[in-house]
């Protein structure tokens, strides 16, 4: 590596660090904004007080302080981080496969009418099937384990991404296309430089919906098979009457979902800035 390459790598690293800093700052400002804290703090206070005052049974509705103790116990004694890691592995595998299949198919369906006529009816038939209804047949095909869980997360995230991408590509402004054609753009160039970029905001939005659906399916998948993961721990805690631990799992899922949405918002800000704030 020559000195110019070293310098380039260093500045890229600095840039990445700076962007990461911006991301965390932005995410933190969203959750710790004065407006939101004015809602959050009274809610937490009420949640803490009601069980303590005996208005609701404390064992069935544990206050946040009990939940915090349970969280400490789970992270320090029960290796809950490993469960989070296992869940995230499945989640990103399922979501990743959904993203890399749904976006190209959606773009192709939006771009080409012949392709749309052949593929769209099939997806329109399959999409209304609620993702949890896929569980029994998935178990029959894949057995119980990682492939089955990954498929269920995939099926949860796939359709929102597919249909939003398709719709956004289909709705591309005709004058942009006409302008590009005037300058001699090929169909491939149109897909890569006009359709895709026009649809990007909607695609990122659809991935956000995919994240939410994927998390739903993650919990369902882990309820049905496997012995690790947040969903598994959640159901175990429920079955053994440990509500505080159940709440810890729910809060963890919420935090993961929030973090991923923030990450996607940041990506949207960087790649599709013209869509942000609309």
């Amino acid at each position: 590596m020559n000195k110019y390459e070293t310098k380039g790598a260093r500045s890229a690293f600095r840039l990445a660090l700076r962007e990461l800093g911006y991301f965390f700052k932005g995410a933190a400002m969203n959750i710790f904004s004065l407006e939101f804290l004015m809602v959050l703090i009274p809610l937490l206070g009420l949640w803490e007080l009601l069980p303590r005052m005996g208005v609701v049974p404390r064992t069935l509705v544990p206050p946040p302080s009990d939940v915090a103790v349970a969280a400490w116990d789970m992270f320090t004694k029960h290796n809950f981080l490993k469960d989070i890691g296992d869940s995230m592995l499945k989640f990103f595998m399922g979501l990743g496969i959904a993203v890399i299949t749904a976006i190209p198919i959606g773009v192709l369906m939006g771009w080409n009418i012949a392709m749309r006529k052949r593929a769209l009816p099939l997806f329109q038939l399959l999409a209304p099937i609620p993702p949890p209804a896929w569980v029994p047949i998935t178990i029959i095909f894949f057995g119980i384990g990682l492939p089955m869980q990954t498929f269920l997360i995939f099926i949860g995230a796939f359709y929102p991404i597919l249909f939003n991408t398709y719709q956004a590509v289909k709705d591309t402004e005709p004058r942009y296309l006409a302008s590009a054609r005037v300058f001699g753009a090929s169909e491939l160039a149109l897909i890569l430089h006009v359709y895709f970029w026009h649809a990007l905001g909607a695609i990122i939005m659809s991935v956000k919906t995919g994240v939410a659906m994927g998390l739903v399916m993650l919990v369902i998948a882990e309820m049905y098979g496997g012995r690790t993961g947040i969903g598994y721990v959640l159901v175990e805690a429920k079955d053994y009457f440990q509500i505080s631990k159940m709440v810890v799992c729910m809060v963890t899922l919420g935090v993961i979902g929030w973090f991923l949405i923030e990450a996607l918002k940041f990506i949207e800000l960087k790649l599709a800035v013209w869509k942000v704030g609309r």
């Binding site: 404390r58 119980i144 384990g145 805690a237 079955d239 053994y240």
Partner: protein
């Protein structure tokens, strides 16, 4: 033609009548399956509103909230359940016993004999579990070398799914799970029903209680006839009980043949005490052998699981 005010009055009187109508039947929650044999059999002679749940814990929550009158819950959950607020309003009125048994189930498609187990991975609940001891002793007695077997520790609940996923090749399960394993198409290679109650292995082995019937104290009078009906099922033949299960579930009668039959008998809160003494507290959990939440065999007292030497109860 009916005038509008009369129509409205009629409509509301109908709605109010429907709302006011009380369901007089005893509402009982259960997890279904083979262990509900007595309930299925009693249901034929006694009107009862049976509500099946995927997990008996869900039914237990509804019992605590007063939406059910009685619930069959896994006996090993009694300890954890008894720590919840409102449990003092409940009482144990019966139990379903089933031989604990040591059963070695082979994954479907794995055609092995007892002396061919070397190199396989077998799921067991704990290193010192009595079921494992019974199996190894019997294997040695029959001349099978199982020194090359790898053991994987997991909760009984997780064993059949682990067989399904191929995570393990075989599992040493307790008797109550053998029907589930057979139903999934797995194959029983070895079964020993002589594992006696009161050994040091698992809390659930005490008294061979598989399920406990919990009821609201305020509903005891209403439940009494149901308890009589449940007790009377002991007079039925084993095949009658198996038939009741086959008629009410998707378990084929043929699978149940050859399996012991679960029995219902009356019980009291002493059962809660027994399970409470031997259920897990998070602080003294042995984390080497648990899953997450105490759904495991504890280690025997010699390994210092609870810090106190445990005395088997008199049976």
């Amino acid at each position: 033609m009916v005038s509008k005010p009369i129509f409205v009055a009629l409509f509301f009187s109908l709605v109010l009548t429907a709302c006011g109508e009380k369901d007089t039947q005893v509402k009982i929650g259960h997890g279904g399956g083979y262990l509900s044999a007595a309930l299925y059999a009693a249901h034929g002679n006694f009107p009862v509103n049976m509500q099946q749940f995927r997990s008996s814990s869900d039914a237990a929550y509804l019992l605590l909230l007063g939406q059910l009158d009685a619930v069959f819950v896994e006996a090993e959950k009694l300890g954890a359940l008894s720590r919840l607020e409102g449990f003092d309003r409940l009482t144990v009125v019966g139990k379903v016993t089933y031989p604990y048994g040591a059963t070695l189930v082979l994954r479907k498609g794995l055609n092995k004999r007892l002396h061919e187990l070397d190199g396989l991975t077998i799921a067991v609940s704990a290193p010192q579990c009595k079921l494992l001891t019974a199996f190894t002793e019997d294997a040695e007695r029959l001349g099978a070398d199982i020194s090359g077997v790898r053991y994987k520790y997991m909760a009984f609940d997780a064993m059949v799914p682990a067989l399904e996923s191929g995570e393990v090749d075989a599992a040493i399960i307790r008797g109550t799970y053998s029907v589930v394993a057979l139903q999934e198409g797995h194959f029983i290679l070895y079964q020993n029903w002589d594992v006696q109650p009161g050994d040091e292995c698992c809390p659930a082995i005490i008294d061979q209680a598989a399920l406990a019937l919990l009821a609201h104290r305020s509903k005891l009078d209403a439940i009494e006839p149901l308890l009589d009906a449940l007790e009377k099922t002991r007079e039925l033949s084993q095949d009658d009980l198996r038939r009741a299960v086959a008629d009410n579930t998707v378990i084929p009668f043929e699978i149940l043949q050859g399996q012991p039959v679960p029995e219902f008998s009356r019980a009291d809160d002493e059962l809660v005490e027994i399970f409470r003494q031997h259920s897990h507290d998070d602080d003294d959990h042995n984390h080497d052998h648990d899953d997450h939440y105490g759904n495991v065999c504890p280690l025997p007292p010699v390994l210092g699981y609870s810090g106190q030497a445990w005395q088997p109860p008199e049976v």
